[in-house]
Structures are given as C-alpha cells and as structure tokens.
Symmetry: C2
Subunit: 428 residues, 2 copies
Amino acid sequence: MTTPLRLGIAGLGTVGTGVVKIVRQKANLLTARSGRPVLITAVSARTREKDRGVNISDYAWEDDPVALAKRDDVDVLVELMGGSDGPAKAATEAAIAHGKDVVTANKAMLAHHGQALAEAAETAGCVIRFEAAVAGGIPVVKALTEGLAGNDITRVMGVMNGTCNYILTRMQSAGLPYAEVFEEANQLGYLEADPTLDVGGIDAGHKLSLLASVAFGTQVNFDGVELEGIERITIDDINQAADMGYRIKLLGVCQMTGRGLEQRMSPCLVPATSPLGQLEGGTNMCVLEGDSVEQIVLRGPGAGEGPTASAVMGDVMDIARGFRISTFGQPAAGLSPAKPAKAVTPAPYYLRLALEDKPGALAKVAKVLGEAAVSIDRMRQYQHSDTTAPVLIVTHKTTRASLDEALAAMSRLDVLAGKPVALRIETV
Amino acid sequence: MTTPLRLGIAGLGTVGTGVVKIVRQKANLLTARSGRPVLITAVSARTREKDRGVNISDYAWEDDPVALAKRDDVDVLVELMGGSDGPAKAATEAAIAHGKDVVTANKAMLAHHGQALAEAAETAGCVIRFEAAVAGGIPVVKALTEGLAGNDITRVMGVMNGTCNYILTRMQSAGLPYAEVFEEANQLGYLEADPTLDVGGIDAGHKLSLLASVAFGTQVNFDGVELEGIERITIDDINQAADMGYRIKLLGVCQMTGRGLEQRMSPCLVPATSPLGQLEGGTNMCVLEGDSVEQIVLRGPGAGEGPTASAVMGDVMDIARGFRISTFGQPAAGLSPAKPAKAVTPAPYYLRLALEDKPGALAKVAKVLGEAAVSIDRMRQYQHSDTTAPVLIVTHKTTRASLDEALAAMSRLDVLAGKPVALRIETV
C-alpha cells in the first residue's frame, strides 16, 4: 500500500541481531504503527557465515558497509558497528552523501564527529538518530529533545555505564575490593575490550557529551568533559560513604552556567535514599531537569540485545512515520560552541584522609580547611588499629578552588598518610 | 521566515496560564527547536478580567471556546478546560471539523470519547495529542507510542494520582488515619471539587484507559477499568503492610492476556524497596514493560502549572515540527475493541482479618483457605488488647476466584470480626 521503509543493517553483533529479530517478528505491528512496512533489504558484517540464531538469507549481503550504505534499495543505514572512526564513520558519511537517513548506536563516533556529521546530514536533508547510543533502552534523547522541548533544560544527570554501576554496587553488597569485582566483571564479559572505556568513564563521557548538546543547544564537545574513572574508589570509600548516608556512583552531570557549560563524568556521592542512590547493578538512570517540568527521572536497562534494539527501532519507527528532526534537536548550524566552564558549580565534598597518629593532627587539618574557607558540615574519626586514623569529612558547599587550596595545604602538613580522597557530593 | 504555528488556548487556569508563560518567554528557543515561530493568537476562558500574572491583551478574546476553535487564525486548539463533555468536547469537535489540530490535557474527555474523537480527527487529517492528560510532566505517552514503538508492550503500571499517593504516604509517615489526612489534603487544595475523582480512583482510571489504548492498540475502554479507591485503606493496613516489607499504592495496571485486556486501578501492595514502593508524596511514576526493552520506569511531577504546561508544549512542539501521528499511536479505525479479561492475572494477596478470640479460630480460617486452594506464604498474628486478634496473611500466587471463594467461606465462619481486607500484591 504505502512505500516500505528499507533498512540496511551494518553490524550484526548483539544489537544488530536484535534489530533483525524485531523486524522479522513484528512486521504487522510495525506496519500498523508506522503506516508502512518496515523491511530489511541488505546487511553487512565482518563474517557472513556465523550462526546468529536469526535468518539473514533473505537479505542482500555486502562485505563493505560503505557499499551497503550506498545501495539504491536502502533508505536508512542502521549503523551498529561501533568505533569512532573507520568503517562506521565511512559508512555514515557514504549514507549521507547518498541521501539516506542514519540510525546509529555509536556514541564514540558522534562524540567525536557529531557536529560535522550533523551538518552534513542536514545539508543533504537527511536525519541522524542516536537513541540507542545513550542509556540503552531508555528513550532519553527523545524525552529531552521532544517531550521537554518547551523547557530550558537546567541540568542533566545520568548513571550511564552499567558496568561501573555493577562494580560499585557489587563492591558494596559483597564487601569486596575494587580489583576483585573488576576481575569478576571481566569474567562475566561485562567489560569492553579496552576496559578503560568503561571504568575510566570514557564511554559514559561520550554519552554525556551527546546529552549536553541536545539539552543546551551546544555543539558536541567531548573534549570538554571533565573525566574521572572509578579505579581509585576503594571499598572503604563505599562503606564510609554509606555510613554517612550516601552511595558512590559514576555520575555524569551537565549544566549550563554563567561561566560556561559544565560537563563532568566522575564518581560522586548521592543520597542513599534518592532514585540515583537506589540504583543497583547494571541499570541506567537519567535525571532531566527543566525550568517548567522540574525533574523527570528515567530508569531502564543500559545495554543488552533487546533494550538496545528497542531504542534503535524507536528511531527507525520515527523515520517510518515521517518525523524529521535535526540531529541534536535544532539545526546543527545554529548550535553554539560549548564553552567549557572554567570552574565547576560549588558543592559539598566528601574527604577521606588517613591521619598520622600524632597529637594535634586533626587540628592542623581543620585549620587549613578553615584558612581555605572550606567549612565542615560533619566529621568522623574512626577507630584505628595501625598508626593512622581514618577521618571522614563532609564539607559545606564550597568551590573546587577552595577545596584544592585546602588539599594542597594539607599535603604540605606532616600529618597525612597518603593522598586524601575528595569526592563531590551532588545535590539530587 | 517559515509559517508560524498559531495556538488558540481554551482555558486559562493554572495550566493555561503556564502555557501562555512558556510561549511568551521562550519565543526564540521554541523557534530554534521547531524551525518556526510558535505564537498564541486567541484565548478563551470563563472570565476575561482576572489577574493571571501574565499579559493576554495581545491575544484575541473569545467568550465561546467553540468560536475560538473555529477561528481562521488558529492552527491548533489547546484545550485546557477539562470536563468529559460540555464546552471541552464541543470545542474539540469544532476544531476538528475546521481542520485544526488539538492538544489537550483532558483525560476525562478522551477516556469517554477518545475513539470517536480520534476517528473524526483522522478522517479530517488532524491530530489529537494528550501528553498532559497522563502523569503530568512525564512524557509517558511519547515514550510508549514512539520510544517503545518496536516493542510488544506486555504491561503498563502507574501511580498517576498524586493526591492519593500524597494521602497514602502521609498516612504512613505521620501515622495518621485516612480521614484526617484526607481533610489535610482538602485544606491544602489537593482535592478535586468532587474528591471521588481522586480518592475513588476515577481520575487515575481515566489515565490508565488512555495508556492501555496506546500500549495495546485497543479502543479506549474506561468502562472496562476495574476501579477501586483508597477510601477503605486504614493506617493499620499501611503499617502492617510495611511490617511485611510492602507499601500500599493506588496502582494502575494494564496488561493484555489470553483472556482479554486487564485494566485495574486499585490499592495494591508493592515491595517497599522497588521504585514504585519508594515513591513518596505527589510524584507520579509509570512503569512500561515491553518484550524487547524489558522495563522502563519514568518518574516525575504529576501535576502543577509548570510540569503540565511542559507536557502541553511537548505536544505543541511536535506539531510545530510536523510530526503527525495517530491519536493512539495507530489509526483509530484499526484499533481493536478492548475485550475486558474475565479474570485477572493470578497474584499473591495480602489479607487482613480480625479474628474473634476463640480457640481454633485461626485453624478454621486456614482450613477454608486450603479448601479454596489458596496457600499461605507468610502469616502473622499480632498482639491484641481487645477481644479480637489482627491476623495478616500473605498468600502464594492465587486466582482471584479462589480468593473470593475463600473469603466467602470465611464470612460464613463465626470467627471473624468485621469484613476481611484483601489487597493484591503486584509483582514489580
């Protein structure tokens, strides 16, 4: 009846296979909802012969994803290969050059080349959609770009790397040190080939940079993301933060301030009773704040075949329905450069120090904090069995500059054993 | 540059005023995001002269919302008057008859007339959007209809009446009886003029019937919603459910089963540690389950000027961007009749009984449960100061028919003081 929408799938890993299954199994549903058939005409992957548990023999095969992208019988390139450059970028560029829309799950590619790709797509009259690139099955890009389109977005926060959240919550529930849970996650296949992408916060940072662009109408600026991984979080930090009523999360935060755009992906403390604090295991959560809507919290699976394929299909269905929207919610040419804020918004901080067991040690620490105008909200000194005493401090709201000044002064004292740990407490 | 989208606002209460504010204050943002100016050309309300804290003197005034809907300089009727019939329905019908799109926050109108209005709109080539009608600022209709468009939806749950959730959580936190908190809510202006709409579950039932249509491709069937309010929930129920690790919520659940469509809006027990269980105060929450996406949880403010206006503007912006979608996610003519399920999905139940203080009383109760094939998971008998003993029972999963059989048999025993309370425990 109406013209079918013809997909070319590049990449038949977990997500690609999931997309093929949905398109094969739900033909009637997809047609009823979009008003036209949604078909796969061609596929491309590294290996043709491989049992994927799904029949791909009906589809044309291309060894080269660029050739797939150029095919006359492909309307939409569904790019599920990954990688910031290489074949993914080449195929995406080829698709755009040939007037095809692109649906991608590739956060790295868009974090690095989002602006250029968006400009090319819009010049060519094509759309690029990337719901699956951020927070798996959670339709967060749609919520921000469309659902909250009447809001000035004030802040976006997210726990968007399930592996990190698994590691942090597993450390707490099992009382295990970081290295042991890291190894466990590795055995379970939760980690990327290069684990720094996960535990170094890079993967989640990519996602944050995309949300920031959509939220604030700025050009994607991954280099502007202040990145810190979870590698130095100890079981002591987790336990002691819990004692103070907090949980440690690898939390992404972006907000537009008078000083520029803040983008931070770092371990933060959040109240244990907040939705973010209660998030366990590999689940993702995004918190969207707008001047009208106040706060919306979205929670769901951050990875996996079904959830990620669901996000891909959401984008495909929008295209099938004829929804045309600029890649980052407004025309790429109009996005403003994302000027990174020179200083982050003041916040309370959690400090963990190991004090030498000397008279007056605590007084010296308190003094340098006071001199740097960092005031103490709560403090605890724990019982100690060796020559050092663990001390936890929750400060009142302070600038990072004051805190850094205090930490530098502390390190010049002769009372600290080891480097103090300082973690931001994010108000949620 | 491009043609403006011209709104006619019918109803200038809290939400209408909020919409006027957004359109006035965010002209540039709305234009940047939608690619065209979004303007208000005309308004209508009961009283023209009233200080709404917003300037409406630029807009044409209509005493009659039907006249507003017909105006040549109105592209979209924004219907914010409320009421299932009367002026809201007349204005909506007039708008459609004159080829205008409609954005409405009116759950009652769509719960009762959604199918007819959707058919009329689609015949006329118009769209009706109603994000603001369900769960305030949460973009749940969009998430279901668009974001999860690649899923067979398996179940939708929601806490969608903030007043009821306020009452239930306030009862628990303050240890106050229902009547007292109801009066408190009344004083605070939280209740509808007819409070049965809130506490009787009708308002939330309206919303559930709309979500069911979108989720399952069925015609809206509000009459098919099994409705039960929160009026009979006592502070004892709340405290004793808490003792067993549960919270009581006015929970909407819809799911498609082999026996037909289940739509229930009733007080249910949910685990205290689940996102639904942790929901406090007036906040709303929707849980969307699909075969691919697994489970998505959306949380946000369920009412109020800003959040509801945000939802209205999300719909307006979609129209400004040229997104055209059938009212309930697929053409109204193709929606199947919603055949109500004859029996609800089996579940565990919570029972509260007051036993007469007689030897063998508990044995008799246990016997009738066993005879009806209802097996007991956990049981507690509390200390009692009078002649009756409170007994709490959590059953294993059972059919409602078996439970009703057991309850009927119990009532024929001579050991119960008062009617037993039975509440479903929803697996979340």
